[in-house]
């Protein structure tokens, strides 16, 4: 059995030696390298552009390596308070939002995973139906307004508090946990809440990590919610700022609350703000990557 598995893991066991087959391998490698290149080049170009001088950007004389490295764009970005405020707002909303969303998802998924719970099917159908049909943008907007959440940070969190797909995946993960452990805890006098807190959650750390990251990335990247629910410029998130700065005819100096001058890096700012909004995602990406293949597929393969 071990030998079989080893062979399965090691694709080189497959023998292809005809000429056509080798030509294909080379071509295939080149195609895939090309895909990697077009994936990464735009990002590297923006990174290079954020350190290029205005003159170089205007004349398009660089691609991946500016002749002269300048940090004007970043200096201006951090000089005014607009960027810092947007950054702090986004970090705060992301942290609180992720906590709320993961908390709600876990507490709802656990009872739904108990097959013996009366009414369980009703509640699962309540969730499933929302995957097929929804009230849509305007009625949801009206509910948020009715609740007095317009221009409140909660409007960026609560309407998206539970992702039904994630909920169902976490639910099927809980169903897979060994029942005997929970049973033992119950015999020791734990109630369901204690079982959940002391037994189930510690066993679910990888799943919690995965979905925390997924929720966090979703909030960080969200542009629609602030567009719908936030009018106050002081409450802009980073994505809104990126949009405002990179949109054609943006009045960047005024927006950032700095003085416009001859050396103002009008174009450089567009590159810098993209880099600053992307870097956090790329920082968590390795952790995301470690978990997501597993996490995403737990639910989709079963059922």
């Amino acid at each position: 059995m071990a030998i079989l598995n080893a062979r399965r893991r090691n694709p080189s066991v497959r023998h292809y030696d005809s000429l056509g087959s080798r030509v294909f391998d080379v071509a295939n490698t080149l195609v895939l390298l090309f895909l990697v290149a077009i994936t990464l080049l735009p990002l590297l170009y923006v990174l290079a552009g954020s350190f290029a001088s205005e003159g170089e950007i205007d004349s398009r004389s660089f691609f991946l390596w500016p002749e002269r490295f300048v940090t004007d764009a970043y200096d201006y970005m951090f000089a005014g308070d607009t960027f810092i405020r947007a950054l702090l707002t986004t970090i705060m909303v992301t942290l609180v939002g992720t906590l709320v969303q993961v908390g709600l998802t876990l507490t709802m998924a656990y009872p739904l995973s108990k097959r013996h719970l009366p009414g369980r099917v009703l509640f699962i159908n309540l969730v499933l139906f929302t995957l097929v049909f929804s009230g849509g943008m305007v009625p949801t907007y009206l509910v948020v307004r009715e609740l007095g959440l317009l221009d409140s940070y909660w409007a960026l969190i609560l309407p998206l508090a539970i992702n039904p797909f994630y909920l169902l995946i976490v639910k099927s993960f809980f169903q897979e946990l060994p029942e005997a452990l929970e049973e033992a805890a119950r015999i020791d006098g734990c109630n369901e809440l204690q079982v959940f807190w002391r037994i189930v959650l510690p066993l679910s750390k990888p799943v919690i990590a995965t979905f925390s990251l997924f929720y966090a990335v979703a909030i960080w990247n969200d542009y629609m919610s602030p567009l719908l629910y936030i009018n106050d410029e002081k409450k802009w998130t980073l994505q809104v700022l990126v949009r405002q700065l990179t949109a054609p005819n943006a009045d960047s100096a005024n927006m950032l609350g700095t003085q416009s001058s001859a050396s103002f890096p009008e174009q450089g700012l567009k590159f810098a703000v993209i880099v600053l909004a992307t870097v956090p995602i790329l920082l968590v990406y390795p952790f995301l990557q470690k978990h997501f293949a597993k996490g995403v597929l737990i639910g989709s393969v079963k059922e």
């Binding site: 990464l40 509910v143 369901e192 809104v240 174009q267």
Partner: protein, 330 residues
């Protein structure tokens, strides 16, 4: 509890009782209450989530009825007068509907033709890679764009394709010559750019489901095929493709169910006054007339039409998949 004392109405009276049928055919209220009490902690945990779904999912569904009213915020849901199908009449008779429908369907068609097959092709190419380190590295790099926001993607597009300093626009211009073209502003280039963005952002991530299906293929099938003299192409055709067919069907159903769901953020971010005739779709127009202009009822009618059509599409494509002998979603 009262019913306990009246044997005549209980389900387990001798008259109705058949041999072999368990006594607990129907639960009595008292037992039910006991069950609820026994599971009180579970129900307590369920409560916040259920409240979320009721408030943010089902309350908006109730709010959909303003599509049949002239909703005035001041009067509220109940005070606003009923107007029947007025907003639907307006929607279907004004030029809006056909323009939105055409724009939405063209984008959907382009998505099906160019965006849908891309991850399948890439997954098949990755599957043929024999050096697993190379395969894994390519995978993790091409997944990256999926995690970037549409704001970032749109901004990147502006930086690469705009006339004044877009590096790609300049590059194309150097080769083709002639006047500088502002690719991001022009109506002609709106659709190709949307497709390019979708390809760049979603192709890599889209391979994940097909690669998962391929990982489950029994390698002995390949060995047996080789013994029988099958080359790589034959193995692809007879083993690999059948293995990912269920995944393709599921993705096809999901795609057709979401045909009318052009990504709001993507389209909205790429819309400009010049490309509006081709870029406006149901989602963005709903936002435009509903939120920015305050025509709540009209916009809701449009949303309701889209929602109902979406249900028909997903049910229809599922039915079609089953008719064609495939396993559907449900």
């Amino acid at each position: 509890m009262a019913t306990d004392l009246v044997p005549g109405v209980a389900p387990d009276t001798p008259k109705t009782k058949r041999p072999g049928v368990p006594r607990v055919a129907r639960k009595k209220p008292a037992r039910r209450l006991a069950l609820l009490l026994r599971h009180r902690w579970l129900y307590l945990m369920l409560l916040p989530g259920v409240v979320y779904f009721l408030v943010f999912k089902y309350w908006p569904m109730y709010g959909l009825h303003i599509a049949f009213k002239d909703y005035v915020p001041f009067l509220g849901y109940s005070g606003s007068p009923w107007v029947g199908f007025k907003h639907f009449d307006e929607l279907f008779t004004s030029g809006d509907f056909s323009r939105l429908m055409i724009n939405t369907l063209v984008l959907a068609l382009l998505t099906i033709v160019f965006v849908f097959p891309a991850p399948i092709v890439v997954a098949l190419l990755l599957n043929e890679v024999r050096v697993s380190v190379f395969k894994r590295s390519v995978q993790s790099l091409i997944y990256i764009p999926h995690f970037l926001s549409w704001t970032i993607v749109a901004s990147l597009t502006y930086l690469l394709f705009s006339a004044d300093f877009g590096v790609l626009a300049g590059f194309i211009n150097d080769i083709v010559g002639g006047q500088r073209v502002d690719y991001v502003a022009q109506a002609d280039w709106f659709r190709p750019i949307i497709v390019l963005q979708l390809l760049w952002k979603q192709t890599g991530w889209g391979t994940i489901i097909y690669l998962a299906a391929l990982a489950g293929v029994d390698q002995q099938l390949y060995e047996a095929a080789r013994v029988d003299g099958a080359g790589r192409w034959r193995q692809l055709w007879h083993i690999t493709l059948p293995a990912i067919r269920p995944a393709i069907v599921v993705m096809a159903i999901l795609t057709s169910g979401n045909l009318l769901d052009t990504g709001f953020e993507q389209i909205w971010l790429m819309t400009s006054s010049l490309n509006r005739p081709v870029s406006e779709v149901f989602d963005t127009y709903t936002y435009y007339v509903g939120i920015t202009q305050g025509a709540f009822s009209y916009a809701t009618a449009m949303g309701l039409f889209k929602g109902v059509a979406g249900v028909f599409l997903i049910v229809g494509s599922n039915w079609l998949a089953k008719r064609l002998g495939q396993r559907g979603l449900y």
